[in-house]
Subunit: 218 residues, 2 copies
């Protein structure tokens, strides 16, 4: 019965761009700007203006105004709401080595709705310590603790040899989404979401673009 717009049918490509819009809009807000046009966003972010309008239309409650553009603060609130930045999801971190420390230490995740509540490691020397304010527990406790805390998201930051068993433990504990930083393909049940942070893939794409650029200059 509300005037809530349905927020389905937002394409995956659009979802991937929303965080960039969010950062951009926050900058504009900080700079004191009240409205911003899709053409300006497109130019600054090197996107197509129609694409920006479509992306924003798919999540904005208020339409943009001809001549004025979009209300910055409203858009930020809309993206917050759509991406769930305004309510925290608990997550656990598996692996308290270099990458794990960097992830736990990066305070920014809270702004993105992610709250790391515990870390796990097999190394006894790390168990009991704290990284970025997160306590490190023994790997054996993983499944039990995850279940007790009712955590649905697991972050894997262990060496590749240990990644599959980390995934298995997370699944055993009841996690439903895995953010995988290890360079291996994980085998998990079909009803578990996996997002691979494939650095090698990123690097491959960057290298090819570099090669193209150098080549075009001959």
């Amino acid at each position: 019965m509300g005037n809530e717009k349905e927020l389905l049918n937002v394409s995956k490509a659009t979802i991937g761009r929303l965080p960039a819009y969010h950062r951009y809009l926050q900058e504009k807000l900080d700079a004191g700007e009240k409205t911003v046009s899709s053409t300006a966003i497109a130019e600054d972010l090197r996107l197509n203006a129609v694409q920006v309008r479509k992306d924003l239309a798919s999540i904005a409650r208020e339409a943009g105004k001809p001549k004025l553009g979009f209300a910055v603060a409203d858009l930020i609130a809309d993206i917050d709401r759509f991406l769930g930045y305004d309510n925290l999801n608990d997550a656990v971190l598996v692996g308290a080595g270099g990458l794990g420390k960097a992830l736990a230490g990066y305070g920014g995740f809270k702004h993105y709705g992610l709250n790391i509540v515990a870390a796990f490691d097999t190394d006894p020397a790390r168990v009991g310590t704290s990284i970025g304010g997160v306590k490190v527990f023994a790997a054996e406790e993983l499944a039990r603790l995850v279940r007790r805390l009712n955590v649905l998201i697991g972050i894997i930051a262990v060496p590749k040899e240990a990644a599959q068993s980390a995934a298995d433990e997370l699944v055993k504990g009841g996690v439903r989404a895995i953010w995988n930083f290890a360079p291996v393909h994980l085998n998990v049940p079909a009803n578990i979401a996996v997002k691979n942070e494939d650095m090698a893939a990123s690097l491959a794409i960057l290298s090819k673009r570099l090669a193209e650029i150098l080549n075009s200059e001959k």
Copy 2:
């Protein structure tokens, strides 16, 4: 005049999948398997078999053999060659904090053709130290040293406030490709390749998939 197949027209999507094939094939090779079928790869990696065949066809020198499949070792060599894994590209790392340390410490980049030759930081306490075998230099030396070493790739792992100036210095030094781990949009000249490692975008996509899964179970 050679029988070299042209390796152009390999789609971006395909390039992004090649590292995953590479890892998969390496596993199979280690397990002593000589050939592998596209159907097996597709099943294990949760891809479509036709897609796998097209991807492999675009970079393989030898076609697959009906009934047998593809020669594992040959495919690995083909991907090595195509992605440049067999010759190292030098890169510099800007930022020797948590993330920078994790990146420098991750030895795996060499396998992906990336050789980090120097790191830079503004913090005097970090200058002169070594992270992951890479020496940390003062930020003021960045442009000069990058130019002298003729480095074409820069990795940005600094806090977001410092990312734009890091990019400016890299460009000044002659870098032509930037791998950006800071959550900000960088403004660089058009002839510079930028690849943003947008964690927030990954997280957004994972969160939405999680929401879908939970929703589908109602």
